[in-house]
């Protein structure tokens, strides 16, 4: 029992460090694409340490303080229901994709609640945009994930990983149409450009994060770091065959960096355009993917 808890704590720390490193490398990559030098790849770790060391930070109330805590809680809970490489937490058999879908909402909700008490209209506009965007990408993601799920008749992520254990059996090959739609949905879920209306630093001053500083911002950084691993990990598990420790890390890394490279050269959609885009193209693509699965079966 104690060993198990220590193991879990180790995984959480590992994932946090990994996520922070991913974020740092992404900053470096974006900088190089923009022909800047960029910060060192471990900059995000330093940032978090600095933020936690700060004191006398502005607080707008209890919920404002708890918001980042709930957000971090949300991603941590989701983490335990997703198989991470060869490590299969006990819980990935105890909850399936739909559980993860709903657990993933806890984190944005926590951030939204906390930012709401900050009483800054920029934050609320960001959240309203985020929820609207959710109406776009969530459905696409749901439909694209349904394709392998219906084919293998299981909603358990752990089982889906098992059936595609060897390289040529990755779900991305038979379900490439659905996987494509799923990747577009993931792009919106991660809030990368052209879907960064929630943050939109030039319009609404970083949206939900506008009032946060010090350890609150540090917690939100941690949330973001774990969120990267959870979201890319989910897609890697469903479409790219999971893998062992090393391959899992490599797959999530390459997936993330691909999204970041697209992010680096894209402008931003207006929020209405973004939702409409999701309803127009990826939705149709995911429906075609589903149709093919239905015929193929």
């Amino acid at each position: 029992m104690v060993l198990k808890i220590i193991e879990y704590l180790g995984i959480v720390f590992g994932v946090i460090i990994l996520g922070l490193l991913y974020g740092g490398i992404a900053r470096k990559v974006i900088a190089r694409i923009h022909r800047r030098y960029g910060p060192p790849f471990y900059q995000n770790i330093l940032d978090v340490l600095k933020l936690f060391a700060k004191s006398n930070e502005a607080s707008h109330g209890v919920l404002f303080n708890l918001g980042p805590v709930i957000a971090f809680t949300g991603v941590l809970v989701s983490l335990f229901f997703i198989p991470l490489g060869s490590f299969r937490p006990l819980f990935s058999f105890e909850g399936d994709i739909f559980v993860v879908f709903y657990l993933l909402v806890v984190a944005p909700l926590g951030m939204a609640l906390g930012a709401g008490e900050g009483a800054n209209p920029n934050a609320t506009i960001g959240i309203a945009r985020g929820l609207t965007l959710m109406l776009g990408y969530e459905l696409v993601f749901f439909l694209s994930v349904l394709a392998p799920m219906i084919h293998y008749r299981t909603a358990s992520i752990a089982t889906l990983v098992t059936v595609q254990s060897a390289f040529p059996h990755w779900n991305v090959f038979p379900f490439f149409i659905s996987a494509f739609a799923g990747l577009i949905a993931l792009h919106g879920m991660m809030g990368e450009k052209p879907f960064d209306q929630v943050i939109a630093p030039h319009e609404i001053a970083s949206g939900p994060m506008v009032e946060y500083s010090g350890k609150f911002l540090g917690l939100l950084q941690l949330y973001h770091a774990v969120g990267i691993i959870v979201e890319t990990g989910l897609v890697v598990d469903i479409f790219f065959g999971g893998g062992n420790w090393l391959t899992f890390i490599l797959k999530t890394f390459f997936l993330f960096i691909t999204l970041v490279i697209i992010n680096a050269v894209m402008p931003r959609f207006r929020i209405g355009q973004a939702v409409k885009f999701y309803w127009k193209y990826p939705l149709v693509i995911s429906l075609i993917g589903l149709l093919i699965v239905a015929i193929w079966r």
């Binding site: 933020l51 936690f52 700060k54 006398n56 930070e57 502005a58 607080s59 109330g61 919920l63 303080n65 980042p68 805590v69 709930i70 809680t73 941590l76 809970v77 335990f80 006990l90 819980f91 105890e94 909850g95 399936d96 739909f98 559980v99 709903y102 657990l103 806890v106 909700l109 939204a112 709401g116 008490e117 900050g118 009483a119 800054n120 209209p121 609320t124 506009i125 959240i127 309203a128 929820l131 609207t132 959710m134 109406l135 969530e138 459905l139 749901f142 439909l143 219906i150 008749r153 909603a155 358990s156 506008v210 009032e211 010090g214 350890k215 917690l219 207006r270 209405g272 409409k276 589903l290």
Partner: protein, 601 residues
């Protein structure tokens, strides 16, 4: 006979409340409190028993038997919410007749869920309609009339079906119908379904809900949404799995049609809810939307989907009532339910805020609350059955729930506090007590869904539908597994961990609400920093065309058409003698033409 005594307590208590209130307001309150407490107590001790009664009222006998395990479950929901609603309504201003109508309404609902013959069924349904009408009447008369008209329409459907049923079978009992043809069964089924659909506000019979919920007294709305809507749901269960069981289980296309009706109701009502400015209107649409899930679930008629629908309506009874009570407490202190006029109340009304927060968490179906297991089973059952588009529609509907529920919590409790609410206090005990009471099942059934599933299992086995695999804490389907207890434990552990990380950071200092980032502007009261008007304007812009499509315009057109027709008919009576002589002459001519001269012989 215990059930009979409960009804007697409520009827006598209602009349005594009315008379007592004539003497003193407090006496009336005391009687209403006593009778609702007694009914709650006596109904609770019926747990697990077989109960019922038969009384002869001259023309026919009334049979009330708890023949379905859902009878007790819905009955308990009714008495609990009734008790809480009466408790909260003591603080509001009501006419003396209000308490009588609430108690009669409770009696009517209890009788309905135990009705064994069609006369009792219809009688109790009329009791429910009439006395909920009086309840809404206490708020605003126009909405009450609208409610009455729609529910009378439903009653006509039901009375027609009952009459035809009697004509064909010669029996007043709601037993299974055997001797009818398929077409006859279909017509009867649809008539009864439409009748109950008005009560449970299924689209396109939902138009009364917005007005009735918005304008009824605040504590009464909780009862309307939490308990009265369940009458329609119980009616569905009755006709689908009892009266027309064999017919319905076999009718795949009918099942699909009704399931789609539920799915479309869920989606459309969810989208409308995001565009509403009044918190009670928003919740009215959210209530319609959530009941759409229930219909979609039970109409699909597999053991898993029925369990999903049944679990969802128990959840709906808990969180929707909770939400309406929090709105009631806000309205009691501020005097408005319009979200654009509220804001920042979290610091003033923390208990109401916690109630609303957990209410929306359950409403949007986030585990580990009571909202999740039902939705989870619903998705699984749709996908097992291959109803993927329906699953997608329901999923989209549940995303709209995130949209409108965040709008609700933000506009009322978060954001800046308007200066006029500086000295608002927490709502009195009468409002906070229901909120705290309802939080318990909301979390308990979330981590131990088996408590509710136990009843549903019994229902499924008694009516021979099948069973689902579950224990107190987990549910297993052929697709996957959901262990609510583990989710709850992991949640708690992760929260503790995140909180420890939070404590690692430095100290904080409390700042004023206007001490925030405004890009250098100096802000004061004159700046409106509360982002509440047109919250989802950018979404509304994209779905402008859809929002224009409203069923109300069809009804308006219909009412105008009937109005015009009546006007045209009225013109016949012009008042001039010459016209009447011409009519007489034409009539005679017509008669001669029709009878071909036979008239003369």
């Amino acid at each position: 006979m215990t059930l009979f005594y409960i009804l007697l307590i409520l009827f006598v208590g209602g009349i005594l409340t009315y008379l007592g209130a004539k003497i003193s307001k407090h006496l009336g309150h005391a009687i209403a409190f006593t009778s609702s407490t007694l009914s709650l107590y006596f109904h609770s001790i019926l747990y697990g028993k077989l109960y019922g009664f038969t009384i002869d009222i001259g023309l026919f006998k009334l049979h009330a038997v708890a023949f379905s395990p859902l009878s007790w479950l819905i009955g308990e929901i009714v008495v609990v919410i009734g008790f809480l609603s009466i408790l909260a309504s003591f603080k509001e201003k009501h006419s003396d007749f209000y308490y009588l109508s609430v108690q009669f309404l409770l009696a009517g609902m209890l009788l309905f869920v135990n009705a064994y013959d069609s006369i009792t069924l219809f009688l109790s349904l009329e009791l429910v309609t009439l006395f909920s009408f009086f309840g809404i009447w206490d708020g605003r008369k126009e909405s009450a009339v609208k409610y009455l008209i729609w529910n009378l329409l439903g009653a006509y459907f039901i009375v027609a079906a009952i009459a035809i049923l009697y004509r064909f079978t010669g029996s007043y009992f709601m037993n299974e119908v055997h001797y009818l043809g398929k077409a006859q069964k279909l017509v009867l089924f649809l008539l009864l379904f439409a009748g109950f659909a008005v009560k449970s506000a299924l689209m396109p019979f939902h138009v009364w809900v917005k007005d009735a919920y918005r304008d009824s007294p605040h504590s009464f709305t909780a009862l309307l949404s939490g308990a009265v809507s369940k009458i329609g749901i119980f009616g569905y269960f009755l006709i689908m799995f009892y009266t027309f069981a064999k017919f319905f289980i076999g009718a795949k296309y009918l099942q699909l049609t009704l399931a789609w009706l539920g799915g479309i109701t869920a989606l459309f009502a969810g989208i409308y809810a995001t565009t509403k400015d009044d918190s009670k209107e928003l919740l009215a649409y959210s209530s319609i939307s959530q009941l759409g899930y229930v219909v979609a679930g039970i109409a699909l008629a597999t053991p898993l989907s029925i369990s999903a629908g049944a679990f969802q309506f128990v959840g709906h009874a808990i969180f929707e009532t909770l939400l309406f009570f929090t709105i009631a407490s806000v309205a009691y202190r501020t005097g408005t339910t319009r979200m654009t006029e509220l804001g920042g109340l979290i610091k003033k009304m923390p208990v109401s805020f916690i109630g609303l927060l957990f209410g929306i968490i359950a409403l949007s179906g986030i585990p580990p609350t009571v909202g999740f297991p039902g939705k989870w089973m619903l998705y699984e059952s749709f996908i097992i059955e291959g109803r993927i588009l329906l699953a997608a529609v329901i999923f989209t509907a549940s995303i709209t729930a995130f949209l409108y529920s965040f709008r609700l919590v933000y506009s009322i409790f978060l954001g800046p506090l308007p200066s006029k609410y500086e000295d608002v206090k927490e709502a009195p005990f009468n409002f906070t007590f229901p909120i705290i009471v309802l939080l318990i099942p909301l979390l308990l059934f979330g981590v131990q869904p088996g408590i509710v599933l136990y009843y549903i299992d019994r229902f499924l086995s008694i009516f021979g539908i099948g069973k689902i695999e579950h224990s107190y804490s987990y549910i297993v389907t052929s697709l996957g597994k959901f262990n609510a207890l583990y989710v709850g434990i992991v949640f708690a552990a992760a929260f503790v961990f995140a909180f420890i990380v939070y404590l690692l950071g430095g100290r904080t200092r409390k700042v004023h609400q206007f001490d925030n980032f405004t890009a250098g502007e100096v802000v004061d009261e004159s700046y409106k920093l509360h982002y509440v008007d047109d919250f989802y304007l950018f979404l509304e812009r994209e779905i402008k065309g859809f929002l224009k499509l409203r069923i109300e315009s069809l009804y308006d057109w219909l009412s105008k058409f009937v109005d015009g027709l009546g006007d045209a008919v009225r013109r016949v009576y012009s008042g001039s003698h010459g016209d009447y002589i011409v009519y007489l002459g034409f009539t005679l001519l017509l008669l001669i033409l029709i009878y071909g001269g036979k008239l003369w012989f």
